[in-house]
Amino acid sequence: MDKKACDKILYIDDKPFAIGNEKNLLEVIRNAGYDLPTFCYRSDLSVYGACRMCVVEIEGRGVQASCTVPPEPGMKVTINTEKTRRIRRMVIKLLLANHSKDCTTCSKSGECDLQEAASRLGITDIPFECEEKKHPLDTGNPAVIRDPNKCILCGACVRTCREIQGKSVLDFVYRGSNTIVSPAFKKNLDEVNCTFCGQCVAVCPTGALRIRSELDNFWKMVLDKNKKVVVQVAPAVRVAFGEAFGIKPGKNLIGMITAALRKVGVDKVFDTTFAADLTIMEEATEFVNMLKSKKDFPLLTSCCPAWVRHVEQKYPQFISHLSTCRSPQQMFGAVAKELLSKEYGIRREEICVVSVMPCTAKKSEARRKEFSVNSDPDVDVVLTTQELIKMVKAGNINFSALEPQEMDSPFGVFSGAGVIFGASGGVAEAALRTAYKLVTGEALGEIEIKPLRGLKSFKEFAVNIKGEVISVAVVNTLSQASKLLEDIAAHKVHYHLVEVMACPGGCIAGAGQPYSIDRMAIREGRLKGLYQDDVDSRIRVSYENEEVQKLYDKWLQNPNSEIAHQFLHTHYHNRKRITGEDIGLFRKGSEVLPKTTVCVCVGTSCYVHGSYDFIEAIMAKIRAEGLEDAVMVKATFCLQQCGHGPNIKIDDQIISHATVDRVSEIFDRYIRVKYKK
């Protein structure tokens, strides 16, 4: 060995190993062929060092958590010593002592890292007094269930939400053994700025964060003789599904999925990719119209529901930039319900649209009020890839014995452009392929836009369309998206089209996909699978999808036509305000007098400006005037006039600068007038 190579050697259990690009000792150890367990380490997150499972002994430095140690040449590392074994076993025993004991019925059973580590280390009894936590579950949203009783406080969700998504919805609260992970003020996820992207679920080593299963509902629909069950399968599902059956990531299994779905009794199996082609026709047209009218750019894509929700929550000023196109899932639902009910000659409600998605946010998207007609949702059931896997197992299907089957017509026909929707950059690539054609009348010369491909969180590309340079940005993860929007708002950058997907790498890494620790390699595999499917496709541009063309010819007329707008487009809401109950301070019932509600903001800014004093003064005034039966006083949070506090709202009217010296004036002007005899 030459000297230079010698410099980069460390010793594990007395054997030399080369140090490569590993960020920490744990990675060196894993690359050296050891499978050291961890709960808190995730290669794409900051190092936390809390679970203490990856401890090793290093000569001269004693016991160290290997994930926290930078590898150094000459280091002498021992993996299994009396101390490290004792620590690993003790950690498991301690965690199990107050962990929920319903392993057998836990949805994570079989994939739970804690369960696996306990079994691996041969932990068969817990010597400590067991104490089960009794925290309430957070079940208030359609996508994610939060169960603090199964949480081992590894912090992976906290770091994911903060570092990957830039949202910080979750954080630790309380101290010591009372610590839990929770949204602010112990609110539920649906009451805070959660987008239901589910990336917290995707990193949770136990069942503390899990997908809300809709399988029971699915079976109910399938077994209901009066329902026609129509399934759509999203592109990213087919390249990840096989992982649960020991098949390499990236293998396209859509034929097997179709066969399995038919076997359990669904009536039609279609492809969301068809709807993706439809989306492209609409979105590319929208984009081309913007080009023509020189409208304010950029156009922001709207396929990713977590991203859409993020804009609604944090950047409502950009709502007008969001494409009005519904996502492929929702386009499919609207079209399927409308057309198939006519075809079968049954009512809309009798058709049950099931979608199989790589995504948890899609569950939330399907529940949006805009996407139902007379309370009948366009998409009835949203299953994730994980639920599909469970469905196949619960349906007693021998998966390996299945013969691949073709999808149903007409919504089973798709282009390669639609398939790559599952990858970050795919929507932009597909849109450009069609937009170029719409403007120039010619096909794009190089159909594969390589600069927009890959797992990188930011990519850009410029293309000359009829003399105009069109710039496109593609980002994934919401932290990157936020950064880009801030830059756009500050006029630091300019783009015509911006594609955003909330999950790292796009839908292939959606939270509904099979759970895995080694996420980077798996993402690569899935990505490759999708782009291969594009290459293998008979048609590769959306405008050549003949079934889509027929749809326009027979029914939708043209992209962006009035009828297309009715079925394929939508609108958005400002969700900047944290939802939740106001706090009633002063309330009695009265049947006689008309009611008035006074809401006083107790947010930080208004509090600092004296809103508490105002509350006391206005309550005293109301009492003095004998109107406590009629006027309700509530404390509320943020009326979004923070610069003008204290702010109050009397019925629907916001009054700023409501300082305590104005109590009488405000009372006379807004309250007394209503009660004048």
Binding site: C51, M90, G176
Partner: protein, 620 residues
């Protein structure tokens, strides 16, 4: 004031003015206004003095009476302390009712008020001169030298006693030279670990980066410890002077003093001191007319014990949840806001001006060769003289407990000393002649820690002591790493079982195994040392654990669950008084026959014990 000092002449002028003020003010009467004395009514005493001293001349001379509120003098058990400086007399346990007599008798007429002098239990006599009080006689007060002697809210008094003098010298040296002096002095971190201070400074000085920070760790969280508090309250400028020196040496321009919000007086006095220092140009831009600039912010912590751990402390300053991070990276390379950061504790910084002023060799002459200098301890527990002490390092426990501390209270027997707070351990009779040094203490399973010294007598149950500290630690665990979060909780549960007499021998093995795992495997220093009280008591007092577990007996008679109250058949006359008094109906019997206690019902309240007219009921 308000003019910034730019050269030595101006400094001398300022000092001269302070001197004039100091002398012309008259005979100094010091009222200790440390937290302990404040709680005992120091403000009342001060106010009565203020009223009565008007028109009084000191001992019929021309001298007025100059009343000064000072910081802690350390002799807290005997507060309120009043010092008549000119006569070297200290009055102890002064109440506001006593002030008139002191004024009338001593201040006016020079007659010492004998009844308010310190009473030495050993010699059974009153001590007239404060230097003869045994509590002070063996101490070497250097970093505490000004505490209790100057007004902590006056920068003039600090400068008059020599404060900020060393800065002139520091600013004329190179940062390398300053680091070298600190290294040569052998000063070691007084926060517990004993890391060589000079080397730490070198690390930060050599770390790459333009922006650097200096932090003072004033988050003193150990129960019963108040060393840093006394310095921050009693001599805040010395700490600031130390920090300025450090900032100059490492090249920092911004500093933080992180102090617990539970120390409101310290927060207030530090803020006053920083403001005063800024006003005269000791802090701020171009200090003393030099090119060097440094500012200090006082940051209040919210009282989490874990924020005394340096990485958690920095997270707290940054506005994050106070949780420790793994090291490396060390603060010297990547500390506050990711910048190289020097972090030392209050006492360490307070030693710096003395070293700069008197030289490294002077410092080395104090203490022992490997452990130069002095160390402050908070001496508490079952001891005659409790309070704040400062002794040369290497002093034996015997000297501290029996000379300075005046021995065990009420003639009881010495049993052990709990040293170093919740992270520390126990020392027993066999260690009485052990020199108190960083290494020697580690060898016997204890540590200097921040310097809490709790003296325990024969009536103390060591298992209960371990339980007490474990209760504290598990409450204060940040909850980050599994071993500390869950380990301390389960150690506490086992200890509770033991003191309740419900444990089995296997629990003891489990306790030990768990303690070792937590010690070896925890993320931060606090977690690693959390099992120390358990391991240390197991090492020296295993028989007490065994007595609780096997015999279901508490040798010290402390653990109430293991007490039994019984009626002596010979002495009981069957009067039924006990049965009528028992709140839970545990005693039954027939009149004029022996009564019996149902042990399963008895709650050991002791009501029967005191009530029995025939002394027939006993605790066994």
């Amino acid at each position: 004031m308000g003019r910034k000092i730019k050269n030595r002449e101006e400094f001398a002028d300022f000092k001269g003015a302070a001197f004039k003020n100091f002398v012309e003010h008259g005979a100094r009467v010091l009222i200790c206004s440390g937290t302990g004395c404040m709680a005992n009514g120091a403000m009342d005493v001060y106010n009565v003095f203020l009223e009565l001293k008007i028109n009084v001349k000191f001992k019929n001379t021309e001298k007025d009476i100059a009343l000064v509120k000072t910081g802690c003098r350390g002799f807290c058990e005997n507060g309120v302390l009043v010092d008549i400086v000119d006569d070297g007399v200290t009055y102890v346990k002064v109440k506001k009712e006593d002030v008139a007599e002191i004024v009338e008798s001593h201040l006016k007429n020079g007659q010492i008020v004998q009844r308010l002098l310190y009473h030495d239990p050993k010699t059974d006599s009153r001590v007239e001169k404060n230097k003869d009080i045994n509590f002070y006689a063996k101490q070497k007060r250097t970093s505490l030298a000004n505490c209790g002697h100057i007004d902590p809210e006056s920068i003039g008094e600090y400068i008059f006693v020599g404060g900020y003098e060393s800065l002139w010298d520091v600013l004329s040296k190179t940062p390398d030279e300053v680091c070298k002096t600190v290294s040569e002095s052998g000063l070691r971190g007084r926060g517990g670990g004993g890391f060589p201070t000079g080397r730490k400074w070198e690390f930060v000085k050599n770390a790459e980066g333009k922006k650097k920070y200096v932090i003072c760790n004033g988050d003193e969280g150990d129960p019963g410890a108040f060393m840093d508090r006394s310095i921050m309250e009693g001599d805040p400028h010395k700490l600031i002077e130390g920090m300025i020196t450090a900032a100059y040496a490492v090249g920092a321009d911004e500093g933080y003093i992180y102090v617990r919000a539970e120390y409101p007086l310290a927060v207030k006095r530090l803020r006053v001191a920083v403001k005063q220092a800024e006003e005269i140009g000791v802090l701020g831009v171009n200090i003393f007319g030099s090119d060097f600039s440094f500012k200090i912010k006082v940051k209040e912590g919210a009282g989490a014990f874990v924020c005394g751990e340096e990485t958690a402390l920095m997270a707290s300053i940054e506005g994050e949840r106070g949780m420790p991070k793994s090291k490396p990276p060390f603060p010297a390379n990547k500390g506050l806001f990711g910048k190289p950061t020097l972090i030392n504790n209050v006492e360490t910084y307070s030693n710096v001006p003395l070293i700069m002023k008197n030289g490294a060799q002077w410092f080395r002459k104090l203490g022992s060769p490997k452990n130069p200098g002095t160390k402050t301890f908070a001496l508490t527990g079952e001891i005659n003289n409790s309070g704040l002490i400062e002794v040369p390092m290497g002093m034996t426990l015997r000297e501290i407990v029996f000379d300075i501390g005046g021995g065990i209270r009420n003639g009881k027997k010495f049993k052990a000393v709990q040293i170093g707070g919740p992270s520390g351990g126990c020392l027993t009779e066999e260690h009485l002649d052990l020199p108190l040094e960083y290494e020697t203490l580690i060898e016997v399973g204890a540590m200097v820690g921040s310097g809490g010294l709790v003296v325990l007598n024969e009536d103390t149950c060591m298992v209960e002591i371990a339980r007490f500290f474990m209760h504290f630690t598990q409450n204060e665990s940040c909850g980050k790493c599994v071993l500390c979060r869950e380990g301390t909780k389960n150690m506490l549960k086992i200890l509770e079982k033991i003191v309740e007499g419900k444990a089995q021998l296997s629990d003891l093995d489990l306790l030990e195994e768990l303690a070792l795992a937590v010690k070896d495997g925890s993320l931060c220093g606090l977690g690693k040392t959390a099992p120390n009280p358990v391991l240390s008591t197991l090492r020296y007092f295993r028989d007490e654990y065994l007595a609780h577990i096997i015999d279901k007996r508490c040798p010290a008679g402390v653990c109430s669950a293991l007490k039994m109250i019984e009626i002596d058949e010979q002495l009981c006359k069957g009067c039924s008084k006990c049965a009528r008094l028992c709140p839970v109906g545990a005693i039954s019997g027939e009149i004029k026959k022996t009564y019996k206690i149902d042990q399963t019902k008895c709650i050991k309240c002791g009501a029967c014990l005191t009530a029995c007219p025939f002394k027939a009921i006993k605790e066994v």
